[in-house]
């Protein structure tokens, strides 16, 4: 097996983690930060086997919580593992071979992951769902989704089309 794609993949993973870790404040817009780990997960899902994808999703989630959300350790791996499973299933069904479907599905997953993450945190708060959606989930989704679309414009989701 050619090891070149894996080295490239490893460097991409390390680069993304370092950017999120060291430049988190730089990426901040009015308190909103993008979830680069999720964008990375989407790209990994198109390059790894289904089993590798869910393990990568779990490890990325654990790392993300340890680095950024230690008080809710476990929530990110839960959401990311499930997202990785969905992505792997869709890719395996060849449904996402059409670029427009793959992009729409990925954006939808980004949206759902933010809704679930914030929903889980606010579940016992005296605030309604719309407030959480408008003030937290939607801005975070727009930022992460926007960056994903930008990346998608330059870097194809499928490695063979690179």
């Amino acid at each position: 097996m050619n090891s070149h794609p894996y080295i490239k993949l490893l460097l991409t993973v390390l680069g993304t983690i370092l950017i999120q870790f060291f430049f988190n404040e730089v990426l901040d817009i009015q308190g909103i930060r993008p979830d680069l780990f999720f964008i990375l997960l989407i790209y990994l899902a198109f390059r790894l086997s289904p089993t590798q994808t869910v393990w990568a999703a779990f490890l990325l989630g654990i790392l993300q919580d340890i680095l950024f959300h230690p008080s809710v350790l476990g929530l990110s791996p839960l959401i990311k593992t499930f997202s990785g499973y969905i992505l792997a299933q869709l890719i395996h069904q060849s449904f996402l071979r059409v670029r427009v479907f793959s992009t729409i599905s990925s954006v939808l997953l980004i949206f759902l992951s933010h809704v679930v993450f914030n929903g889980a945190l606010f579940i016992e708060m005296p605030v309604d769902f719309n407030y959480v959606l408008i003030n937290y989930s939607l801005p975070e989704f727009l930022y992460t989704g926007g960056l994903f679309l930008l990346a998608n414009y330059f870097i194809p989701l499928y490695p063979e089309t690179e």
Partner: protein
């Protein structure tokens, strides 16, 4: 037989891996307050602190951190005094009491850098670069120049985790000036808070200052917390729900002060 079992697991490794990882994640998430999980979190903080600290240090150096710190210390005492004086305009007796309080309120402030914030702004804890070796203890209050931020809820050797007031589980005993109405403050999303069960007989107006009541074992009194924005009648007809805004901008906390015991 064994081959069949192995084949079964190999053929279903994707589903089995997913189920296993979801189960592990769920267990970790539901056991966040377990000492082993807390230990893992703070261990990770201790390990990462030396990596992150130079970056944070350089960032703060660029923002003239030292000057800011000196000015911040002064401003904290000034804002504390301002909140005291706001409640002392009417009675000389109370003024003497507050001056007496001033004698007692020369807090031992320890500055700390924020090493890590969440990606999601709804996660309300901070990793600070001060720990047990700096005499930081659980429940030490933290604040900045604007007001109260939260408290320490877990300490490691060289780092500590702080719980912010904008945490869903956070509560704070407060007093509204100048009426003296007391209540329990609770986060209400964004930079907002609510205080329930304020009697109708208390004269509370928008713009009134909210300070710590001093009735808590954790927070000293008269630390500025927020400003009343509006009042809403409670369903019981006898009380009001007070809504307000925190003085601290929780989106831009880079350096805090820990009030050491």
């Amino acid at each position: 037989m064994l081959k069949r079992i192995i084949d079964f697991f190999l053929n279903r490794r994707f589903q089995i891996s997913t189920a296993f990882l979801l189960f592990v994640s769920f267990i970790i998430f539901t056991q966040t307050s377990h000492p082993a999980i807390r230990h893992l979190e703070i261990w990770a903080g201790d390990v990462l602190a030396p990596v992150k600290e130079p970056v944070v240090w350089f960032r703060d150096l660029m923002e003239t951190r030292k000057t800011n710190e000196i000015l911040s210390r002064r401003l904290i005492h000034l804002s504390q005094e301002a909140s005291r004086f706001a409640s002392l305009v009417d009675e000389n007796q109370r003024l003497r009491q507050m001056l007496d309080f001033k004698e007692r309120s020369e807090y031992n402030l320890l500055s700390a850098l924020v090493l890590s914030e969440g990606i999601h702004k709804s996660v309300n804890s901070l990793l600070l670069n001060r720990g047990e070796k700096d005499s930081v203890q659980v429940n030490d209050p933290i604040m900045n120049v604007d007001g109260v931020i939260g408290k320490i809820f877990y300490t490691g050797e060289s780092t500590s985790l702080a719980q912010l007031l904008i945490d869903p589980n956070s509560r704070l005993s407060v007093r509204i000036e100048p009426s003296g109405a007391k209540g329990i403050l609770q986060w209400y999303g964004g930079n907002r808070f609510l205080i329930a069960d304020i009697p109708n007989t208390m004269s509370v107006q928008p713009g009134n200052l909210v300070v710590t009541s001093g009735m808590s074992d954790i927070y000293p009194g008269d630390l500025p917390v927020g400003v009343v924005r509006e009042l809403s009648p409670a369903p019981d007809g006898f009380t009001h729900i007070v809504y307000g805004d925190f003085l601290v901008n929780f989106n831009q906390i880079r350096e805090v002060f820990i009030i050491l015991e």
